[in-house]
């Protein structure tokens, strides 16, 4: 790829629109895919087609026509690329050379074609036969004195069938060590909602979006992360629904959207507003903001209005009086100070909520990746419960999930804390005693590897080395392993940060035809609204050597525990309908699975909370009372520096660019934020730049303020003046992941608190006059 011009240029257009079409064209050409006719190859979510491997936002009509999504096209184009990362690539480059390349470059080499094993003598990967690869893994696993020394990671792209077999294999092997990408994203949603509503999933469907009066969006940027959600928001706005956004950053996707499939909007260069109200609160100020809204509602109620659903509260909930007492006692000054919004704004948001006959509350990782995220999510739940906005049309909680099957994988039992009922059922159906003790989540797994307690790391997809916090601690851990194994479609950072022995196992992508003994196979996925549907590939595999993920798991299981397992591994993967029969045998919600999933569009899993059946200990929905957090790492860091010179502590959130999906970097632009050709930027309020004595465009190093004596830094970021509250910063991950301490996690969920990192800025010498600074290619911090 030719060097791209680096510039910061305000973007005045809407989300979507012609900019999205131009971006898609560039993405296709970058993968050597002709634009004309590409729709045929890349159309996701069609009748008997494949499910988009991107986000988990549901499809309005899974059996209908192509629904445009810029990021979906990028994801599919990246998989359908004509480029190949075959054995010759690994002949040309040592692993040390590959490790010096950027994440973008690694993935840009194309699809992996052969299973590869690391050869320490030459520092190169070389081809290995599949059977030899499985034998190598089995040898390592069976040599461990304790199965809990093995760690089995799962990406949210793994299908239900692969995930089911995987959890079965790993539990038969003897551990519950299932760190997964849920641990890094929506774990707090489940942790907050299960005791509150009895389910760990959202209750709404797309039909509710059609019927709701108001949509509240907290800590989410759908324009970049769930572009198809903009279609729902646009339609809601057009019919008069109120859309209220809470976000520290001004995000174009929350402001206005031009639907590329709307000819009138495209021809007239028009757009539809999205948010009717936009509140730029302080990073981590959501709990205080919601509490302010609720306090306002209660004050109006106490003044004689009838705003709360008293009948619902009496019949369906517990804990309201304690919450009400807490709200009445809460100080407006504290709420204003901690939310960053004044009471007029908090009252205005509360008034919108009070005026809506029905309301949906959405949230993303801007809520979940904080120390107090579980409490914040329960506050969002409280807000809904106050007016009975759960379990009726147009109302309910909507945690918007990231990867396409992250919710399904958890449903299938990819969970380090498995419910006893699941283990009992596995024991009953398969005749073995599953391990009963909880396994390790992602952060615990990193610590175990770093400390020498985790010795074999197996990843079913994903890019663990780039996705995780405290990058160099994670890398230490991976390098300390006796064996690391990655199932993948493309080369990534995790393949070059490896254990003493290492394997890369290339697998089929979701767009590709999967042929097993019984013929072509489809796999199933569950979207963010609990819809389960089938996905069947349409393109030839990138290589004849690729195996499907279910086949890889089954053959690994056979090699490792085949001598003692009664599970017919090979037989199961001959026909995935057999795996679905086994899923049905274990999970009651999947009754008649094969028949129901054969219906175009699939089916919705039962969600008891949406029926106002509360599967909680009290058999009621729960109001939970939490104080406004005033002792967070940022509070403590600011206190540490108070009165000690001019050093200012900022709170940094890590975020994606628009040319990025999770750790996959498709390009170097962040169009809606006006960043082009670069990634090492930090967004900051213009007045803060002035106050630290620097200028817009100056360079800084970022250093975490933490109390464990360890230096965490990410160097050489360009200051970009942006519409963000004072004292707050934003920058892209994975470049800023080294700044996230491993011990900085969500309480009661363990999710890395990547959205609230206390940092200081240190001026970095500007590059010499005329020198080209390739900020796009520099991986992670200087000195990595």
């Amino acid at each position: 790829m030719a060097a791209q011009e680096q510039k910061i240029e305000f973007y005045n257009g809407p989300a979507g629109g012609w900019g999205a079409l131009r971006s898609v064209t560039r993405a296709l050409l970058a993968q050597d895919i002709p634009v004309k006719g590409a729709k045929t190859l890349l159309s996701a979510n069609q009748p008997d087609g494949f499910d988009c491997p991107g986000c988990a936002w549901p499809d309005r009509n899974h059996a209908s026509t192509f629904e445009f999504c810029e990021n979906g096209v990028k994801a599919v184009a990246a998989e359908a690329t004509a480029r190949r990362a075959g054995p010759e690539l690994f002949v040309q480059h040592t692993v040390a050379e590959l490790a010096a390349r950027s994440d973008f470059w690694l993935e840009d080499q194309g699809r992996l074609t052969h299973p590869m094993v690391y050869d320490a003598a030459s520092d190169r990967y070389r081809p290995i036969e599949w059977d030899d690869a499985f034998a190598l893994i089995a040898r390592h696993l069976n040599a461990l004195p304790d199965p809990n020394q093995a760690i089995f990671y799962t990406s949210g792209r793994a299908s239900n069938e692969a995930a089911f077999l995987y959890q079965l294999f790993v539990r038969e092997y003897g551990t519950n060590n299932f760190p997964d990408c849920s641990n890094m994203c929506h774990e707090p949603s489940g942790s907050g909602m299960r005791p509150q509503f009895g389910v760990g999933k959202g209750t709404v469907t797309l039909d509710d979006f059609e019927r709701t009066d108001a949509i509240f969006i907290f800590g989410q940027n759908p324009g970049t992360n769930h572009p198809r959600m903009l279609g729902e928001l646009r339609a809601a706005h057009k019919r008069g629904a109120r859309i209220v956004s809470f976000n520290p950053l001004r995000e174009r996707g929350l402001e206005r959207f031009a639907d590329p499939q709307d000819k009138r909007e495209m021809v007239t260069m028009g757009a539809t507003p999205i948010s009717t109200h936009y509140f730029q609160l302080r990073i981590g100020g959501d709990l205080a903001a919601v509490k302010g809204m609720m306090k306002h509602l209660l004050e109006r109620q106490d003044a004689g209005e009838s705003l709360l659903d008293a009948a619902f509260i009496a019949e369906h909930t517990t804990g309201f009086e304690a919450l009400a007492a807490d709200l009445r006692a809460e100080s407006w000054d504290v709420l204003e100070q901690e939310s960053g919004l004044d009471r007029a704004q908090l009252r205005a948001a509360g008034d919108v909520y009070a005026a809506a006959d029905s309301a949906i509350v959405c949230w993303g990782m801007g809520i979940t990746q904080h120390a107090h995220s579980v409490a914040t999510i329960q506050m969002l739940g409280n807000l809904l419960l106050m007016r009975g906005n759960v379990g009726r049309p147009g109302a309910g909680p909507c945690p918007v999930r990231g990867h396409s099957n992250v919710q399904g994988d958890r449903t299938m039992g990819i969970w380090e804390k498995p419910p006893a009922a699941l283990l009992d059922r596995l024991a009953e159906v398969y005749g073995f005693e599953p391990p009963r003790e909880n396994g390790m989540d992602t952060v615990e797994a990193i610590a175990a590897m770093r400390d020498g307690q985790g010795k074999v790391f197996f990843a079913l997809g994903g890019n663990f080395a780039a996705a995780t916090p405290d990058t160099y601690e994670t890398w230490k851990g991976l390098r300390r392993c006796e064996l690391t194994v990655h199932v993948a479609t493309k080369l990534n950072r995790s393949h070059v940060v490896h254990g003493r022995e290492a394997l890369i196992l290339p697998c089929l992508g979701r767009t590709e035809i999967d042929i097993q003994a019984a013929g072509p196979q489809g796999v199933t996925v569950e979207d963010s609204m609990s819809m389960v549907h089938i996905s069947t590939g349409i393109n030839p595999p990138a290589s004849a050597q690729l195996l499907s993920e279910p086949a890889i798991v089954a053959r690994l299981a056979e090699a490792t525990i085949g001598h003692r397992s009664r599970t017919p591994w090979r037989w199961l993967v001959e026909d995935y309908a057999r795996i679905r029969d086994h899923i049905e045998a274990v999970f009651a919600d999947f009754k008649d699975f094969n028949r129901r999933v054969a219906v175009p569009g699939g089916f919705r899993l039962r969600n008891t909370a949406s029926e106002r059946v509360w599967a909680t200990a009290s058999k009621r929905a729960g109001f939970f009372t939490h104080p406004v957090p005033r002792d967070t790492p940022s509070h403590r860091a600011r206190a540490r520096f108070a009165g000690k010179g001019d050093t200012r502590v900022f709170t940094l959130l890590t975020t994606r660019s628009h040319d990025q999906y999770n750790t996959t970097i498709y390009g170097h632009d962040d169009r809606y934020r006006g960043v082009f050709g670069q990634r090492r930027v930090v967004f900051i309020h213009a007045d803060d730049i002035r106050d630290i004595g620097l200028k817009n465009g100056d360079w800084v190093d970022l250093r975490t303020v933490w109390d464990d004596g360890q230096e965490r830094r990410a160097d050489r970021f360009k200051l970009v003046a942006y519409d963000i509250p004072r004292g707050n910063l934003a920058a892209y991950y994975p470049e800023t992941n080294p700044l996230v301490p491993l011990s900085s996690v969500a309480l009661n969920a363990g999710t890395p608190a990547s959205k609230s990192i206390p940092v200081i800025l240190v001026p970095h010498a500007a590059p010499e006059q005329g020198a080209e600074v390739d900020t796009a290619r520099t991986p992670y911090a200087v000195g990595a």
Binding site: G37, T40, P47, D48, G49, F66, I513, I515, Q516
Partner: protein, 89 residues
């Protein structure tokens, strides 16, 4: 694919009957429209009729989907033409 199913036969005939333009091929969208096929169904069938190895078995190589300038074009290959000659009209 050992023997062509009805859909494969229809595709082979459509390609054989196509006017000699596009370098002897038919553009992908046009072929789908002509056969009344959705994109997923058409692409999956073409994948099975090409020479790609699926499930460890080399494909029959009856057709080829190729990039031609800035678009996708489906070509009838010699194997497909020969097969077509053996099929009843």
């Amino acid at each position: 694919m050992d023997a062509p199913d009805a859909l494969a036969q229809a595709i082979l005939r459509a390609l054989a009957d196509a006017p000699a333009r596009d370098g002897g091929g038919v553009s992908l969208p046009r072929l789908g429209k002509q056969l009344g096929l959705g994109a997923s169904s058409l692409m999956r069938e073409l994948s099975r009729m090409g020479d790609a190895t699926l499930g460890g078995v080399p494909g029959p190589g009856w057709v080829r989907v190729a990039q031609q300038d800035d678009r996708w074009v489906v070509h009838l290959e010699a194997a497909g033409r020969a097969l077509l000659g053996t099929l009843p009209r």
